[in-house]
Symmetry: D2
C-alpha cells in the first residue's frame, strides 16, 4: 500500500539555536520512499545524515533568532511481511543476535529491572512466542487508561505502571519494559500512523521474534499495516522528532497520513507484521 | 606502559542459565593486547563476539546447573594520548559527529533531563572546554561521599545527587549526566584500573571534546594512564561485566591490574588523556 | 495590624460529591478573628469543626450534581511576637516537647531521610539557632527558581532539590525537609498573605525554636507580619484548601488580603516572628 | 488471652546521642497491661511520655559514648472485639469523624495519590465494607512476595507496588495506601505478634470501619487475636521502635511474644477484630 505522509513544524527562536529533527521516513526493508520533499524556511543550510545502526535520518540546522519552519512530505510504499502469529517464536538469549542484546538493557523510560518481578509473575507462565507479546499488549490496553495530559517527558514505564494512565509513548514504553524483563529485545518506533485519530506522531514498539523485528501497538489506535517508520531506538529519548539546543517557542504542529490506494475498508490485521527487512 | 590485568569470576548455577560476560580488554586505538587468555571451566562452548559500534567484547555461554568459573588474563600496552587541557575544546552541538549524538540522550542511570537546571546553574557559566568537565569532576569529588554500600543497581544520578553518596559508577553517572545536560556527549567506561585500592572493576567516563573521547574519573581513585578499557556504553546498563539469565549464586570475584614496566613512581597526570584512537 | 482576607471558590459537581474545605482563618494565639462570614450557595448544610491538635478549621459538605460556591471573608487582627533573631535558639532533641517530635518525621512531600546527607554537609556546621534556619531559606531562595507550573501535586522536596524549580509550597517543603534532617521540628502553614503578588493561597513553614513555632518564607514574596494562618500540618497533604471526593470541575478561585490600618509602608521585618501563642 | 511480650535492644554509641524508643505496649481499649518492666543499663535518666493523640509511649534518653541496653517485658491481656465481617460497613467521607480524616492523606510511605487510579480500577467496584479491605489484603498477599531484604527505609508503597516484593511494613503500607485511595482512613500499627516466625517487631494496619479501627495483616503471618499494639501512626515514619540522633552501632535485637493461657491451638480468626476501644 502507498501512503502520503508528512508534517509541518515551526519554532520561534529566541536565541541562536541548533535543532535536530528526525521526521523523515526511513528507507529500506519493506518501506520504500517513492518521493519526498523537505522544505525549510528560511532557506538554511541543513546537515542531513542517516545513522548507521538505526537508520534514523537526522536533519540538523542552526539558526539565528527568528522563525524557522519545516515541511516534510513523502509518498511511501509499504509491503509489510505478514506471518501467522503461531509461527513466530521467541529466541532464547543464548541465540539472540549480538546487535539485539542492547535492546534487553533498561533505558531512561524503560526500567525493565524495576518491573521484572511483575513481568515474570504476570507473563512468565505464558507460552513464549508472538502470542506472549500480544498478551502483554492486551494487558496494557486493558489495564492502562489512554489519557492525554496524564504524563510528561519525565514519565517512565514504572510511573505509568503505578499511575495506570498514559499516552502512546507510555503504552509503548510499558510494552518494551515487559518484553525486556522477559528476555525479549524490544525498542521504540516513532511513525506516521494511518487512521490514527487525531493525527499526530505515533509511538509503537518492535520486539525481536524469530529472525526479525515485529511491530506492536498496545494502544490499538492505528493499523499495523499503515505505520510509516520514522525513528527507532531504545525509547523516546532516542526518537524525539525534534531536539532543541537553545531557547525557542513551539508553534502548533500538523501531521498527516493518508492511504493512496483507496483500500480504507481493510480490516486491521492481527497477523505478525514486520517491515524492517525483506 | 604495559599492564597485566585479569579477573576470576564464578557462579553456582541453580538452573540452566545463559551468561553474557564483558570482561575482555578492548582492542584498538591506543590500547593494544599483547597476549590474553580466557579459561572457562568446565570447558563449555562459548560464543565470542565484538560489538561493531562500541567495540565491547562479549562472551556468551549456556550451562546446565553446576559451577561455572572464568579466568581472564591479559597483557596490555597503553599509549595514551596526552594533550594540554587548555587546548581541548568543547564542540558545539551543530558540529558534533552524528554518532556522538546518542550520548547526549538521557539513559537509565543518567537522567540528564532531570538535572538540567542545576547543571546549567552550576556549570553553565564556566568557560567551555576540557576545564569545564574537570570542574564537574571537582564538584562531584567534593560534594559526594564515596561510600561502599550506599547505592544499588537501581540508583540513578538523580538519586546520587540527592543522597550525596555513592560508588565509582554513581560518580561516573553523575559526571555523564551533567555533561549531557550541558550538550557534551558522555558515556560510561568500565576498566581494569591500575592502583585502584581495593582492586575491583572500575567505572569512569569519557566525554567527547575536540575530536575524540577523553577519560575522566571523578573518584580520583586511579591513574588515568593506567585504565585498561573493557566496555563502554550509555551507562552501567550497557557495561555490566556479567549479565545473567537464570538462577545463580555468585562467588567472590577477584580482579587485578599491575604495571609491568616498574614505573610506579609516576605522578598521576592532570593532562587531557585519550586512548580511543590514534 | 488588621487585615481583610477572604476567598471565593467554586465547583461544578459532576456527581454527588463530598468536599472538605480548610479556608477559614485560625483562631488563637496572636491571631484574632474580629469578624468573619462564610457563604455557601446553594444553602447546603455544612459540618464545621476545628481539629484539636492543629487548630485547622474544616467545613465539610455533600452536594448533588450542580454548582457549589463558597465565599469566605474575615477581618483578622495579627499581633505577631517579634524577637531578636540572635536570641532564638534551637532546642536539642533531648529537650523538645513531645508533641513537636512528629514534625521531625519524614512526610509525603518532605522526605527528610533522603536529603539528610546534603543537609548535614551544607548546614551542619552553621551555628544552631534561628540564623541557621535563615541560612536554609537563603539557600533555597538563591538556588531554586520560582517558576509557576514547574511542579505538580506529586512533587516532593527531593524532586524540587533535583529540579531546582518550584512554587511556594515546594520552597516550603524544601525548608521543612532540611530543618527536619537537622533535628529541627518544622511544619507547613497555609495562609492569606498580605502583599503577595499575584494574590493566592500562600504556603510557608514554621520551625520550632526556643519555646514556640517561628514563621519562615523561603520565597520572600510576602511580609511575615501579614500572614493570616489558615492551616498547618506536616506538609501540603495536610493543608489543602479543598479536598474533593467525587467528580468536579474547578472554577477559577479568587483570594485577597488587604491591610486595614494603612501601614503599607512598613519595611518587611527580619525579626524572628511567631503568632501561634501569646 | 494473656501474653508475655518484650524485647532487648542495644547500641554502641560512638558519640553523645539522644535515643527515642517506642517499645512499650499501649495501654487502653481492649489491651490491658497487667505488669511491665523497663530496664535501662547503664541506669540513665529517661523521659517517659505518652502521646495524647496516638497513645504511643515514648522513652527518650541521652547518653555519652558507650553501650546502652534496654530490656522491656510486659504481661498484657487482650480482649479483642470480634464482629461479623458482613456487619462492618465503610463510612462515607461525609460521615467520618474529623480525627480520622488525617488518615486519608498521603504520607511518606503511603502515597495514595499515586496509586489512586489502580485502587479504583481494582477495588472500586467491590461492595464497600470490611470485605473490601479483606479483598485488598488478599490481593497484596497474592501479588506481592514476602522477601526479606527486598526493601529498605526509603521504600514507598508505590515502589512495592512496582517491585512486587517487600516485608511486613511494605505489605501494611500498600494496604494503607489502597484504603486511603478509596476513602477509607488507614494507619500503621507496630506490635508484638504472637506466632510470628521468626519473632520480630511486626507491622500491620488498621482501617476505620463502622465506628472503630479494625486490624488487618496482609502478610497473614500472625494471628489478629495476638497482636499487642505498640505504636500507631500514618506509616512507619511514625512508629519506629527506635529513633536515633547521634552516631551508633546497632546490636542484634531480640523480640518475643508468648501466649500465657495455653490456647495455642486456636484457629486464626477471620472475624473483624478491633482492640482500640471498648
Amino acid at each position: 500500500m502507498r501512503f502520503s505522509v508528512g508534517c509541518e513544524i515551526g519554532y520561534d527562536l529566541q536565541s541562536q539555536s541548533t535543532l535536530i529533527f528526525n521526521i523523515s521516513a526511513m528507507q529500506g526493508g519493506r518501506q520504500r520512499i517513492l518521493s519526498e520533499r523537505l522544505t525549510i524556511s528560511p532557506d538554511l543550510v541543513a546537515d542531513e545524515k542517516t545513522a548507521a545502526d538505526s537508520g534514523n535520518r537526522f536533519v540538523r540546522l542552526t539558526s539565528d533568532p527568528g522563525e524557522v519552519r519545516l515541511r516534510y512530505e513523502a509518498e511511501v510504499e509499504l509491503a509489510p511481511l505478514h506471518n501467522e502469529p503461531e509461527s513466530v517464536d521467541e529466541v532464547p538469549v543464548a541465540k539472540l543476535p549480538l546487535e539485539t542484546l542492547t535492546f534487553l538493557n533498561p533505558s531512561r523510560y524503560c526500567p525493565s529491572d524495576q518491573l521484572a518481578r511483575f513481568a515474570s509473575r504476570q507473563f512468565g507462565n505464558i507460552a513464549p512466542g508472538f502470542g506472549r507479546v500480544t498478551e502483554i499488549c492486551n494487558w496494557i490496553n486493558s489495564e492502562v487508561d489512554y489519557l492525554a495530559g496524564s504524563s510528561d517527558t519525565t514519565t517512565t514505564a514504572a510511573d505509568t505502571f503505578a499511575m495506570r494512565a498514559g499516552v502512546c509513548r507510555d503504552f509503548a514504553h510499558l510494552g518494551i519494559t515487559f518484553c525486556r524483563a522477559l528476555g525479549i529485545p524490544a525498542r521504540l518506533v516513532s511513525c506516521y500512523a494511518w487512521q490514527l485519530e487525531p493525527q499526530d506522531f505515533h509511538a509503537v514498539f518492535e520486539a525481536w521474534l524469530g529472525d526479525r523485528w515485529y511491530l506492536f501497538d498496545p494502544t490499538r489506535m492505528a493499523a499495523l499495516d499503515g505505520m510509516v517508520r520514522i525513528g527507532c531506538g531504545r525509547d523516546a529519548a532516542d526518537t524525539a522528532f525534534a531536539t532543541i539546543y537553545g531557547s525557542v517557542i513551539s508553534q502548533p504542529i500538523r501531521v498527516w497520513s493518508e492511504a493512496l490506494d483507496g483500500d480504507t475498508s481493510a480490516q486491521w490485521t492481527t497477523d505478525a507484521v514486520s517491515v524492517t527487512r525483506s
